[in-house]
Amino acid sequence: MAYTVPTLTDYSTAALEKAGGECIAACTAEATEVRSDLDLKSFRDRWIGRKNGVLTQVNDLWLKPAPKEAKREAGMRVNEIRTAIADIIDKAEHLRLELSTAAIESVDISLPGIRRPIGAEHPVIKTMHEIIGVFQRLGYSVAEGPVVETDYYNFEALNFPPNHPARDTQDTLFIAGQQAKPQRERLLLRTHTSPVQIRTMEKMRPPIRIVIPGTVHRNDPPDASHSPMFHQIEGLAVDKNITFGDLKGTLDHAMKALFGSSVKTHFRPSFFPFTEPSAELYVTCFICGGSGKRGADPCRPCKQTGWIEVLGCGMVDPNVFEFVKDNGYDPKTVSGFAFGMGVDRLALLKYGVDDLQYFFQGDVRFLEQFG
């Protein structure tokens, strides 16, 4: 029960002493109940609060109504009470400070923090952004195109003639119900991001520098290194006087930016219908550093060759320019290079993941690791 100020009827010295003593004792007792900063505040307010505090009440109930002859003694008693209470409150404040400091100081700051989890960007998306960033810093803009494409953009305009064996290499997924349409208008799922080269050249005149991220599909049953859905990044640069040396130099620079300045690049002749000359780019294996070995064991990612295949590229085939000639792409006056790489595969290699399927399952135990 909190202390309440009684009214005084007896102003004898003994009565005053008794009342004063009771008041101070009550304050002392209440001070021991202060356990927190909140308690301290309400304690103070209760005793020395201006409007309704005990001291105010003592003043109003004991001093003011005191008879003339007892006023002096009552006044002295009230001052004593006031001082004593101020002292008790002061001590209580100090004790509180000590206790709370001690509480803080007794905290073991080496204990681990309790963390609110932050999500992780998907490793394939992360790799894609990194690659795009490298090319943006070379002045490349970002473009994109539809996943559901026509035969024209996916094959014909990229120099795959109708009924040509080269089309077989693409394992295309087709949209149903297209038989009635002429072949070039039939819908399919794009097998590479290269169609966007044509779409961009139709909209923009040379010179251009673009990089094209996107989802592509193939009729590949899913396993550790295949998925029917995966991601590619395409690049295209067309201008007057772009040479094969520029293709090599640009990609060599990009590979160093992505994998470190000590990687070397190696270009090997290859074949794509939309580039001539065509090449495959290899970089020094970033797992074994190019030696082909990891300790005494063979290096599996590079199949012991010390090189990893990263992308296909080449000079844009003049036949491709013919499809966009009306927009300023005369193969006799402009030249350009193009490249395309599989992002999921690069992410597998970069992060040392051995099964492509992990990327598409959504298992948080896997995804969390990329934070």
Binding site: P117, I118, G119, A120, E121, H122, I125, Q136, L138, G139, Y140, S141, V142, A143, P146, V147, V148, N163, P165, A166, T169, L173, F174, I175, A176, G177, Q178, L187, P207, R209, T215, P222, S227, P228, M229, A237, D239, N241, T243, F244, G245, D246, K248, T250, H253, H266, R268, P269, S270, F271, E276, A279, M315, D317, P318, F360, G362, D363, V364, L367
Partner: protein, 544 residues
Amino acid sequence: MKLSPQWIRDYVDLTVDNHRLAEELTNVGISVEGISGAGADTVFEMEIGTNRPDAMNHYGVAREAAAIYGSALKQLSALSHQPPVKDNRPFPITVEEPALCPRFSARVVRDTRIKPSPEKIARRLQLLDQRPISNAVDATNYVLWEIGKPTHVFDADLLEGGQIIVRKARAGETLKTLDGVARKLTTEDLVVCDAKKPVGLAGVMGGYDTMITEKTRNIVIETAWWDPEIVRKMSRRHALHTDASHRFERGADFESTVISCDLVAQMILDSGGGELAGDVVDVSSKRMDQAPVILHVSEVRRILGEGLDAGLISRILKRLGFELIPEGQGDAQFRVQIPSWRLDVEREIDVIEEIARLHGYDKFPNTLPAYSGAVVELPHAKIDTTLRQRALALGYNEGLSLTFISHGDTERFSSGTQVLELENPLSEEASVMRTSLVPGMLDMLAWNLNRDVPAARLFEIGSVYELSGGERVEPWRACLGATLAAVRASLPVDGLLDVSKGERAASAELFRAFKGDVENLLEPFAREISFDREAAEYDRRGCA
């Protein structure tokens, strides 16, 4: 495709070992993916592009090796030591479809014996995983792998009327092919026939009834140049993909028909005896000479860069078998004759690629082109970045789900738009392009729950696919998903779930927590966010 380096060395003298040879062939684009075996039994596992059928055989690869090292390539010849031919009645050959068969060559061997092939031949074939059958059949197989020309041998006595006619099949005709399968022919099929019936599917496979047996004494050896498109169509129509059709589809060498017959004849005579009956019969209706290409040195420099002079260009091309004649003034341009085996080289740019690859791609210096254009981002790039950052900060991991869903999924998750169905899907579960990110998200959440991972929070940003007014559209979407355990774990401590109020209240609290995440995510984009229970029955996410 397997090739034997020992066999390659029959045609070109090489001082390098097999490993070095493999590396240098790969560096000019004739890729050796693997090496197995040792010594004379070494095998190269080759990866040769569809554009280089001329290199899908030992002589073709030897030609490349000769070009790399500047060595002499041995000329192929046969039958130079044969006794003079008797019986000068040429075997009758009629080609009724000259457009589809511009060249047909044949040789006849009489009085020969069928027996197993000599050891050396059999071993070479086995090294390439080819099964030896008899000297005559093996000879055709050997020459196929030698110079890349498919040939066929008939038992001459089983050809009714003693003649060959090349024509389209007639309605109702059938042919039992060498694999024992009886095939119905259509009038689109091009067939090799005797006087009465078809005896071979042109460029694809010979007939069963006229094949070589141990009784055979007289053999007709034939080869031809077939139109690649018709061979491809027949191969598709009859689902017959053979070594022969593979090569004819990609373009065979017009000039090698006679030498192929000669080489096969030589091998049969060497192993089985007998004699040549008459000269080679060579029926050709047109020349297939490739048009010469005018090569400008300035164009070589424009594409490849500086550093290649006319002398170097000329040396490289000559080594490859291209004939060059300088034209005009100085060393500015050449008239280049394309060899008959290189059907993939037709234009100036194709010749330029030959120069680059033989010179060595790595020899070209790396340069960076200058550019001073503006860098443009994708229109939704900023939205993507903001969405992603906020979702990550709210503790959601980024997932990527497959773009296919099932028909059942489309009924539950599309907004009544037309779907895009696949013609050749991988499975029924994956037969339609996704119309919503939700089924994929539910699959991913379920994956976690099924593996005792109760707390999972995921987001995905990607396209969905539908037909809108007949036009295909690919709207960009974001999807947020969380399991109950994850939401519970993410509640702030002071707002602890008061389970004492009952399960209904607890669920309401959990939903509010998730709803709070959605509001947080959408805040930068939407002025007003409303949640509509009617629009989505499967969950309580709504529309902004």
